[in-house]
């Protein structure tokens, strides 16, 4: 008997997505249940922020850039503020640096807890989702009581931070950390021993160390494959100079390792916050930065919860930057999803995607390439036409939607 001829077909997922809360579109070619090709289509959250920075002052940009991402908002603000402070030649008081670190680590805790829930939800483990989000509220309460907003804390100003930590806040933080640490031990045990959950994670989406390096993975995704890559260690900034971090790596590279690495990073964050709170430097929390920033260029790297975040700022001596370039961690990890999904079952794709902790609002930056033939970039229409042709050649019809 001849083997049955299999038929490939394409499953479109998104952009309105039942599982993910962000707009993203995936075209997944499957042969039966097995994925043979995956195409990711980004850009639904492209708002033109980088261009908008060129028409706003540095003070306004601080809040605009903070809203690139609602989960890691503080780290975006910190990267921009520190870059501008470097350009202006301003020394930020040590207390402000310490408060920035504490809020950044609290943000990392909330981001990882959030991710743990979303990852568990994708794996069909809603009990873990609900309980981890319940405990995440502890961190959210802390951030709200310190900064005055649950998300988008707006803690940074150019030259320091807005809020000081009171003794009551420190007490609250220490109390909350004790509770969270106990819960985190429990969650680590759950994701590494629960048999039903391990069937969704062990050996799924395995990325070898070599693959991680070639695909340019960063952050916890790379660390789960044994690549030691952490800006807090490679190029310490702010208060991380005095308070070194130990990086957690894992050699297995599968989803289980990514869960384990992120949860173990939480312990590191708890330790770091306690250490900084122990000797919180006294003094001012901000210095004055002039509105006009001297001419020059600055590049700044920070470690966001998802990996390395890169900012480039160019100033022409006025109070408006002439160029701000942002490179966010998710775009670096996105290629790994497309590669790793191939060969897995269709049902594993959401788990593999969740494994890199995607953040599409961070993702959707635009890159314009200036070619030598004198063309000055593409118009919107040309870009769209090219996109439609591109997908048509790959036998995926993406004609403009007819509405009405």
């Amino acid at each position: 008997m001849q083997p049955q001829k299999t038929e490939q077909f394409t499953v479109p997922i998104g952009p309105q997505h039942p599982a993910l809360k962000e707009p993203s579109s995936f075209l997944i070619s499957v042969d039966g249940e097995v994925v043979t090709n995956a195409i990711v289509r980004l850009g639904y959250a492209h708002r033109g922020i980088e261009k908008a920075t060129e028409s706003r002052t540095y003070v306004q940009n601080l809040y605009l850039l903070e809203r690139i991402c609602g989960i890691c908002s503080h780290i975006h603000g910190t990267a921009f503020a520190m870059g501008v402070e470097r350009l202006a030649g301003v020394e930020v008081p040590p207390r402000a640096q310490a408060i920035r670190l504490i809020i950044a680590e609290l943000e990392r805790i909330h981001s990882h807890m959030l991710w743990l829930g979303v990852g568990a939800h994708q794996g069909g483990f809603d009990a873990l989702f609900m309980f981890s989000w319940r405990d995440r509220e502890t961190v959210m309460d802390l951030l709200e009581s310190i900064s005055g907003n649950r998300v988008n804390y707006s803690a940074n100003v150019l030259g320091g931070v807005k809020f000081d930590l009171t003794a009551a806040h420190i007490g609250d933080i220490l109390k909350a950390l004790d509770y969270l640490e106990e819960r985190t031990h429990h969650y680590l045990k759950v994701v590494t021993t629960d048999a039903s959950f391990l069937q969704r994670t062990r050996g799924i989406g395995t990325m070898t160390r070599h693959q991680a390096e070639v695909l340019g993975a960063i952050g916890p995704t790379a660390r789960a494959s044994g690549v030691l890559r952490d800006v807090r260690i490679e190029a310490p900034y702010g208060a991380y100079v005095d308070h070194p971090v130990t990086t957690i790596t894992d050699d297995r590279g599968d989803l289980e390792a990514r869960f384990a690495v992120r949860i173990k990073e939480l312990f590191e964050s708890y330790r770091l916050i306690r250490e900084v709170l122990d000797d919180l430097p006294p003094g001012d929390i901000k210095t004055r930065v002039k509105r006009k920033i001297p001419e020059g260029e600055a590049a700044f790297r920070v470690e966001a919860p998802r990996g390395e975040l890169f900012y480039f700022i160019k100033s022409d001596g006025t109070d408006i930057p002439s160029r701000v370039k942002v490179r966010t961690p998710t775009i670096c990890n996105m290629t790994s999803v497309v590669k790793l999904a191939v060969g897995h079952q269709l049902a594993d794709v959401p788990m593999i995607l969740a494994g890199i902790d995607p953040c599409f609002s961070c993702n959707d930056r635009m890159v314009r390439v200036n070619r030598n033939n004198g063309s000055d970039g593409w118009t919107w229409e040309q870009l769209r036409q090219h996109g439609i042709e591109y997908y048509k050649q790959r036998s995926q019809d993406y004609d403009p939607l007819v509405v009405g």
Binding site: L64, F131, S145, S154
Partner: protein, 128 residues
């Protein structure tokens, strides 16, 4: 390998007080620093317009009607406000307060989202 690692949490929750806030029925406690809608104190305002200049979302408009009589009008668009608190930070006179402001702002129409405040003109006594 074990099964039902979360079973203890789930079954234990049956015998505990609900974690859920009974929100609309009972008001929630909010932290002191919570940033709500902006409160403007017209008496101390000098009409410098720094808040409007620094606002990243163009939510504040200060209009100087008569500079001599210190007659200013302030328009605050709640629907644009991002509650970042930069206006409070920029104000040198302390005329703006955001902490402890109103936060239950939901509405079925846009009308309540534009607040117009006016500082009455000073009566300048004519001494001749």
């Amino acid at each position: 390998m074990k099964f039902g690692m979360m079973f203890k949490d789930v079954s234990g929750a049956l015998f505990k007080k609900p974690f859920t806030e009974n929100y609309p029925a009972e008001p929630t406690e909010t932290p002191d620093r919570l940033r709500g809608s902006l409160v403007w104190d017209p008496d101390s305002c000098t009409g410098c317009g720094l808040c409007a200049r620094d606002c990243p979302a163009m939510a504040i408009e200060i209009e100087v009607i008569d500079k001599k009589a210190k007659h200013y009008q302030m328009t605050y668009h709640i629907d644009r406000c991002t509650f970042c608190g930069q206006c409070v930070e920029s104000c040198n006179q302390g005329s703006l307060v955001m902490e402890g402001g109103e936060w239950e702002l939901a509405s079925l129409s846009r009308e309540p989202f534009t607040e117009v405040g006016e500082r009455p003109p000073l009566v300048v006594e004519e001494t001749e």
